[in-house]
């Protein structure tokens, strides 16, 4: 990535060395070297120690809780995200601008604020919690509560990845299907949905990845009971507070590897979407 690799004959613009040098140096100091510390720190553990930490029942339970709640939250966002994106792209209705802005709110709102607000609503004496209580449905301090917090956090991901694809969607394909006698619902399943699939999966993976790591919005509503509502990031936090850095690092390493795999998958899918758009 040195300046010499740039085809100078093709580019008369200055500043490659400076901007590239600064980018690499900054990224290394702030992101790459500190992250590498996690890998270095775990090499201080023997394989057996590492394995013992990450297969501890409490740790396994925290991974399971993080994964299942993130999965169901991302699944909910997949369905409603598609619906919201569809409505925003295809229809005109009063208040559309406000609805569109609301989609971005979870990006802009601090997670701790979302956490206490959702807990107030879904606690047994809250607006929704008090309605659900007589039905025997407890939300706050259960895994359902965690899922609801993660749905809030994940809303923008599916909507904002599907929206541009739907906007550029070639209506002629859709029309051709209708000309050939397909019903509307069949057109949707057979023509529209397959085209949207890469974007939907990307949005799902983004929401899922965010959900696994999420901390601020979850800790208030979850109740944090070990084995039942304790998520993996919270367990890392607990270990750090007890100065058990080895334990925290081992749990974090597993999460980092999963996040990196998800990031690679997401980038691969986005690359495929881009290639498809360019090919068109």
């Amino acid at each position: 990535m040195k300046g010499s690799k740039v085809k100078k004959s093709k580019n008369v613009l200055p500043g490659f060395g400076l901007s590239m040098g600064f980018t690499i140096a900054y990224l290394s100091l702030i992101v790459l070297i500190p992250l590498a510390g996690v890998f270095v720190k775990t090499t201080g553990l023997s394989w057996n120690e590492f394995w013992a930490i990450i297969t501890n029942p409490r740790v396994i339970a925290s991974y399971r809780i993080s994964f299942t709640t993130s999965f169901f939250a991302a699944l909910t966002n997949l369905v409603f995200g598609l619906l919201v994106a569809w409505v925003l792209v295809r229809y005109r209705f009063p208040g559309k601008k406000i609805i569109d802005s609301l989609v971005d709110m979870p990006f802009a709102l601090p997670t701790a604020v979302a956490g206490i607000a959702l807990t107030a609503i879904y606690a047994p004496n809250g607006w929704v919690g008090s309605l659900l209580e007589p039905l025997g449905l407890k939300v706050a301090y259960t895994q359902l509560g965690i899922t609801i917090a993660l749905i809030f956090i994940g809303i923008p991901f599916v909507v904002r990845t599907v929206q541009p694809v739907l906007q550029d969607f070639d209506k002629e394909t859709e029309e051709a299907a209708v000309m050939l006698g397909a019903y509307r619902l069949r057109t949707f399943w057979k023509v529209i949905l397959p085209e949207l699939m890469p974007a939907l999966l990307t949005g799902f993976a983004l929401a899922f990845a965010r959900g696994i790591g999420e901390y601020g919005s979850v800790v208030f509503i979850s109740g944090n009971m070990p084995m039942r509502t304790e998520i993996a990031p919270l367990l890392i936090m607990t270990k750090l507070e007890q100065f058990d850095y080895k334990g925290a690092t081992a749990i974090a390493l597993v999460m980092l590897i999963i996040s990196f795999l998800l990031l690679l998958l997401i980038n691969f899918m986005q690359w495929r979407i881009n290639r498809r758009t360019i090919a068109d």
Partner: protein
């Protein structure tokens, strides 16, 4: 989405043959579900913050946000954002310049690395600095000998905040500058403009709205970051507490109204952020339609 077609179609839909679009009934059902979903999931929590904040009256609200600890948390939050956001803005401009104006190997890898902080849990983002600079950390003994404190102090909070906001400005600028290409800059260079002249006179005016939007987004995240800052702050009241941490402390002490009062300040910040976003999109559309006219 059903096969049934009725005559009541919207203005937009009526431009297309009737049987290609959904019936008005289906359309309004879908719109209602979307509004209901976002209303329940997003609008209701926002409204509840203000209602909880004013539950015990305006005096309690005022006392909560003028409390010395709240004010010192506000000052720290502003200071941290004031350091972290400009640094990341400079990084974002440099990265976007290198990526969008030049061709080199490993460009996709570099973009992925810039995105990395998005994929890392906030708790881990804070933890990595404890591993580096904490008492048991790699540099801990050395820092201790020289009496430099990084974690559980301002530098640690700033570092963790920078980490979580690294991608924002770069992510906004890279696609924008890639779409704009290099023609204008090359024209300026061939007319004899120097590097910084090209940047200030040609590039910056072209990217100013995108840059502003990236800055405002990273500012919102910097002021609202909770997990990463929570790990490195040490929670010393009046010293290393930021606004989100202050909210947590008040909440855990069952001072709910005070907690929501401070939270309402951050909700207003979020609303302001989204207003700037709307302004940015309006400006971009205006520019696009102007170019069409030209």
């Amino acid at each position: 989405m059903a096969g049934a077609v009725t005559a009541h179609l919207s203005q937009e839909a009526s431009k297309r043959p009737k049987h290609i679009t959904e019936s008005a009934g289906v359309k309004w059902v879908l719109i209602s579900i979307a509004i209901l979903f976002l209303g329940l999931a997003v609008a209701m929590p926002l409204v509840s913050v203000f209602i909880e904040a004013f539950k015990k009256g305006f005096d309690v609200y005022k006392a909560a946000i003028t409390d010395p600890d709240a004010l010192s948390a506000l000052r720290l939050t502003l200071l941290v954002a004031l350091i972290a956001v400009p640094l990341n803005a400079v990084f974002g401009i440099a990265a976007a310049w290198a990526i969008s104006k030049f061709r080199f190997k490993g460009k996709n890898l570099l973009i992925t690395l810039i995105d990395l902080p998005f994929a890392v849990s906030p708790v881990i983002s804070g933890m990595i600095y404890i591993l580096l600079f904490g008492a048991q950390g790699f540099l801990g003994p050395w820092l201790d000998k020289h009496d430099i404190q990084i974690v559980f102090a301002l530098p640690g909070i700033v570092l963790a905040t920078i980490f979580v906001t690294v991608p924002f400005v770069a992510r906004e600028l890279i696609p924008l500058m890639q779409a704009q290409g290099v023609q204008e800059e090359e024209a300026a260079a061939s007319l004899g403009a120097k590097g910084w002249q090209i940047f200030w006179r040609v590039t910056l005016p072209n990217i100013k709205w995108g840059l502003l939007y990236g800055i405002i987004l990273s500012n919102a995240r910097a002021m609202g970051e909770f997990g990463a800052v929570s790990v490195v702050s040490g929670h010393i009241r009046g010293e290393t507490n930021t606004l989100p941490l202050h909210i947590e402390i008040l909440y855990n002490e069952y001072q709910f109204s005070a907690s929501f009062a401070v939270a309402s300040l951050l909700v207003m910040l979020a609303v302001l952020t989204l207003l700037v976003k709307a302004l940015f999109e309006w400006k971009t559309n205006q520019r696009a339609s102007q170019e069409k006219l030209d």
